[in-house]
Symmetry: C2
Subunit: 139 residues, 2 copies
DNA sequence: ATGCAGTTGCAAGTCATTTGCAACAAAAAT
DNA sequence: ATTTTTGTTGCAAATGACTTGCAACTGCAT
């Protein structure tokens, strides 16, 4: 795990991204993250470890990390962008409209169908977004 | 067609929505619309017919019509919301990342799969969003 | 014609995010 | 180890896309 982090910071360094104290902490916070926090929440979690950390630095770091492919940004309906590590395999999201909770899922079958549709219409997919806004089934 | 419009305004009236000059024009503009314009574009198209029309009225009208189920709002990536009439059957969108052009498509097979996935995880779909960001295949 | 609840234009406000800038601090170079 | 170079930071102000308060209207049921 220390290894992971090391490899990562080295890669970032190589890309000309400096690992400052604020970025190191944000990287740690993101590594510990199990949910899909937004910028303000990440700032709340990181600030105690870097007193004075500004929200704009959080935004800037998030953009930098997204550019490096380290994290992914998701813009769900009517809410600020939320982030997650990019390490894991591709998946889509289900958002509980009542709680805001995010559940990940994946369907190769759907991906195939999407690709086929795009191809048939003369396009190639650059990326896609599929979100299911759901509610717990009361049973 | 005059019929259509008449039925529509009557329904709106019944819902307590007044058909003012600005709304009538916006309704007309939307009826003529073949693409997926945003609020500013709709304002641009309607203003000549209602000199002085304000952008806030456009936004307010759009919200009212959306509430009445007359139009649908789509929030594509990194762009202001775009609108379309709601009359047509459900479909999803493919956005050409180079031109911004929107192509509609529909796949019952995918819808089925989505529903199944949600059910399996204990949820029911309230609504979904599926967007394919694409590029013309150069062939 | 009349009264009033729904609408309008305008200015100001909100929210999430971005940016200009001078002070600062990682890496590099020496 | 010190200097130099160049990416970063915090802060305040700016942006973009809407939304809202408010006083002056205006559909439209009566």
């Amino acid at each position: 795990m220390q290894d992971q982090t090391d490899r990562l910071t080295r890669a970032l360094r190589a890309a000309g991204v400096r690992i400052t104290r604020q970025r190191a902490v944000l990287l740690d916070v993101l590594a510990e993250t199990e949910d899909h926090p937004d910028a303000v929440e990440l700032h709340r979690r990181a600030e105690p470890r870097v007193p004075g950390l500004s929200l704009s630095t959080v935004y800037r770091t998030l953009s930098a990390l997204e550019e490096q492919g380290v994290i992914q940004r998701h813009q769900f309906e009517g809410a600020p962008a939320r982030f997650e590590r990019a390490e894991s395999a591709h998946h889509d999201h289900m958002i509980d409209v009542e709680t805001g909770e995010v559940v990940e899922f994946r369907s190769d079958r759907i991906e195939e169908l999407q690709a086929r549709i795009a191809t048939e219409l003369g396009y190639e997919i650059v990326h896609h977004r599929m979100e299911l806004y759901v509610r717990k089934r009361r049973g």
